[in-house]
């Protein structure tokens, strides 16, 4: 197993669950969010196995090259533009959400300023080469994961957790979830989107034994966060909070050196993870977009960089306007719908690559 593949999938899972999913799933806690996690784990694993097996047939090729082999120019360009917009939007939504949440706690700074500064960093990261990004990803995960687990372990064993509240939630485990909830929970496993580009530099092969490991590390962070929130705020109280997990972590004293409020080191980690996550996602989106152009364009580094920066600048402005116009309540409503669209997009992506893999295999035979 190539460890970089694992990092891409891991980083995606923990960042999305840390920032967004806790809120969405806790709102649906009585109407089937536990079942949604189980179903999404199944579908996520099916997607992952299919895409890694299929990409094995295209060594050192990304999605643009694969599409170039099988599709006419018109279909290829429109598909690539659609995929790249969906991927870049994912990064933008996460940056916007994180900025809004940071703004709730750090009242002095405006959301728009935080978004601008985050985009400067992220755009710089996203315009580097795939190899640079992957090695930075490894570094960031090495710094963040231990601290994250330290905080979560501290929280699970703290006096404040009411285990009876968590047990009471078991009654609602077998409620059939809404489709939106499944689509949202599924995003924990959507890290494989990165592999369609990183397949160029690292082979996306996964040994069978690493699939349960991936399932465990991604679900573990998700489920622990949900348990802590319900344990600290109670089954009904948790619904009263805007950001239940942040408030829950705020309730636990860690008394470690500089930090008296647990929320501050947690925000620091989330910030690190978010920056690298957004850089990875936007990098993938940019590479997909560059695939629309001719080979001659792609080999000209000057033009390539210029295009990347223009696209990043465009999305910065759109994100700033969007998060400045709408309230967090409206944005949350839009995000749920966006998650559904993302699910269909990823399904299409997996299906296409699997189809082309079968075609290539048949031709050779």
């Amino acid at each position: 197993m190539n460890r970089y593949v694992f990092y891409v999938l891991w980083c995606d899972g923990i960042t999305i669950s840390g920032l967004l999913l806790y809120n969405l799933l806790l709102d649906e806690r009585f109407s089937g969010s536990i079942m949604a996690i189980v179903i999404s784990a199944l579908s996520g694993m099916i997607f992952l196995v299919t895409i890694t097996k299929s990409l094995g047939h295209f060594p050192k090729q990304g999605l643009p090259e694969i599409l170039r082999m099988f599709l006419p120019a018109g279909a290829r360009v429109s598909l690539l533009i659609f995929f790249s917009i969906m991927t870049i939007t994912k990064g933008c939504i996460m940056i916007g959400y994180a900025s809004s949440f940071f703004n709730l706690y750090l009242i002095d700074v405006k959301t728009i300023t935080i978004i601008a500064f985050m985009f400067i960093t992220v755009s710089w990261g996203a315009t580097r080469s795939s190899k640079t990004i992957l090695s930075t990803l490894e570094l960031v995960l090495f710094i963040c994961i231990p601290i994250m687990y330290y905080i979560l372990t501290k929280a699970v064993f703290s006096q404040g957790i009411e285990w009876n509240s968590i047990k009471a939630m078991a009654d609602y485990a077998f409620t059939w979830p809404k489709w939106e909830t499944i689509a949202a929970a599924n995003s924990v496993f959507s890290g494989f989107v990165g592999l369609i580009i990183f397949n160029r530099v690292v082979p996306s092969k996964i040994k069978w034994k690493f699939i349960p490991l991936l399932l465990i590390v991604n679900l573990h962070i998700l489920v622990t966060g949900l348990l802590i929130s319900i344990g600290i705020h109670g089954t009904y109280g948790v619904g009263n909070y805007i950001a239940p997990t942040y408030s829950a972590l705020d309730s636990i004293g860690i008394m470690s050196g500089l930090f008296s409020r647990t929320i501050m080191p947690y925000f620091l980690i989330i910030l690190f993870l978010l920056l690298i996550y957004a850089a990875v996602t936007i990098h993938v989106g940019l590479e997909l977009l560059k695939g629309c152009f001719s080979m001659k364009f792609q080999t000209n580094p000057r033009k390539e960089q210029l295009l990347s920066w223009i696209i990043c600048g465009l999305f910065t402005v759109i994100t700033m306007i969007y998060f400045n116009t709408f309230t967090l309540k409206q944005i949350k409503y839009h995000t749920v719908n966006w998650f559904e669209l993302r699910f269909y997009t990823e399904f299409l992506m997996v299906a296409l690559i699997a189809l082309f893999a079968v075609m290539k295999w048949k031709r050779r035979v």
């Binding site: 609602y172 705020h233 109280g237 309730s251």
Partner: protein
């Protein structure tokens, strides 16, 4: 080209307005807040803030806090008026104690509690307490032992300083959880002032909105023993006309609810304690300890039963038997309706098991 990039970067720094962050010398930290009912009918809330003044050295004799109070229609309004009196920006990031006056707890706690939970900058980890006779008196008092401005209250309330068997600590998040969760009711430690010390030896029990009953210190000791699974208390009884005191070192309590017989639901309370003899004039090492254990068990059993019956009579459930019922049954929303008819009729079956571990340094 690179020079142009650098110039552009420098320019972006210039257009960022530099006053977004206020420096620490322009801020003042609120360390405790008190909410009371005022005598003025038009401005019913009286809010008191305890502000920490920066000092150059630690000196317990220097008064390093400032108290400001204001009346208003709402809590936010009162805070706004207090802000008009201070020169520095109020910062709630280190707020450690929220004291609710007895008058407000007697009426309705929802508004002050809502205000405290709604603000993002107030740490949910802070302590809550009931101030008697009012919150302002409690905040105005400065204990002699206090080094850092205003931390004496936090040290006694949070158990990070002294650990007393009569002080029941209550955090803000836990208090809010208990007011929203079905099947468990809130409680508050009661703070009284007594020349230059805080006296926190009773607990106030609330339903979801207001004060129901204030326990006596002895009941509070039993209450704390059942509430928390870590022991810091002594049991005092009389053996052969001599006072006999046992310091408890280990404690395990378990609750089970039996509803097999629909007319007679039973709540089993099992408490296991192990302790060391701390005070007894006579020799006891050579004697059979079972006699002593049985005596303590009997005494403790009556105390626990009478406390549980008192709570049941008042219709409050701070130990969370209702939540335990919801956790152990699997019928969804119906459980809560069932429990409301079960609790008033339940019979308590209390089992206490005491073991004496040793007799201390002498026989």
């Amino acid at each position: 080209m690179k020079t142009i990039y650098l110039l552009v970067l420098c320019f972006t720094m210039a257009i960022q307005s530099g006053c977004a962050f206020k420096d620490i010398d322009k801020r003042i930290f609120v360390i405790a807040i008190g909410v009371d009912k005022s005598d003025d009918i038009n401005n019913p809330y009286r809010v008191t803030l305890k502000l920490a003044l920066p000092t150059q050295k630690l000196d317990p004799s220097v008064n390093n806090t400032q108290i400001i109070s204001e009346n208003s229609k709402t809590i936010t309004g009162a805070i706004g008026r207090i802000t008009a009196k201070t020169s520095k920006d109020l910062n709630y990031g280190l707020l450690e104690a929220c004291v609710l006056g007895e008058s407000i707890v007697n009426e309705n706690i929802n508004e002050p509690l809502n205000w405290l939970s709604r603000r993002f900058d107030i740490p949910m980890e802070g302590m809550v307490a009931l101030g008697k006779p009012n919150a302002e008196t409690v905040l105005k008092m400065k204990p002699r032992s206090e080094n850092y401005s205003g931390n004496a209250l936090f040290l006694s309330l949070s158990e990070s300083g002294s650990i007393s068997s009569f002080t029941v600590p209550e955090h803000l998040y836990d208090f809010y959880r208990r007011t929203t969760e079905k099947g468990v009711d809130p409680y508050l430690p009661v703070i009284e002032t007594e020349n230059e010390v805080y006296k926190i030896d009773t607990a106030a029990l609330l339903d979801k909105q207001k004060l129901k009953v204030i326990l006596t210190p002895d009941e509070t000791r039993v209450f704390k023993e059942l509430l928390q699974s870590y022991p810091h208390f002594e049991i005092t009884t009389k053996m052969v006309d001599q006072p006999f005191v046992l310091t408890i070192e280990q404690l395990k309590s378990r609750y089970t609810i039996y509803t097999h017989n629909k007319n007679k639901p039973i709540i089993h309370v099992t408490v296991q304690m192990r302790g060391i003899v701390e005070e007894f004039v006579n020799q006891l090492y050579e004697e059979n300890w079972t006699k002593f254990e049985k005596h303590v068990e009997q005494e403790e059993k009556t105390k626990i039963s009478s406390l549980l019956k008192k709570l049941q009579k008042n219709g409050i459930d701070p130990f969370g038997f209702g939540l335990l019922y919801r956790a152990t049954r699997h019928e969804g929303d119906k459980e809560w309706e069932q429990w409301q008819s079960i609790y008033p009729e339940a019979i308590f079956d209390v089992n206490v098991k005491v073991s004496i571990l040793g007799t201390g340094a002498i026989k």
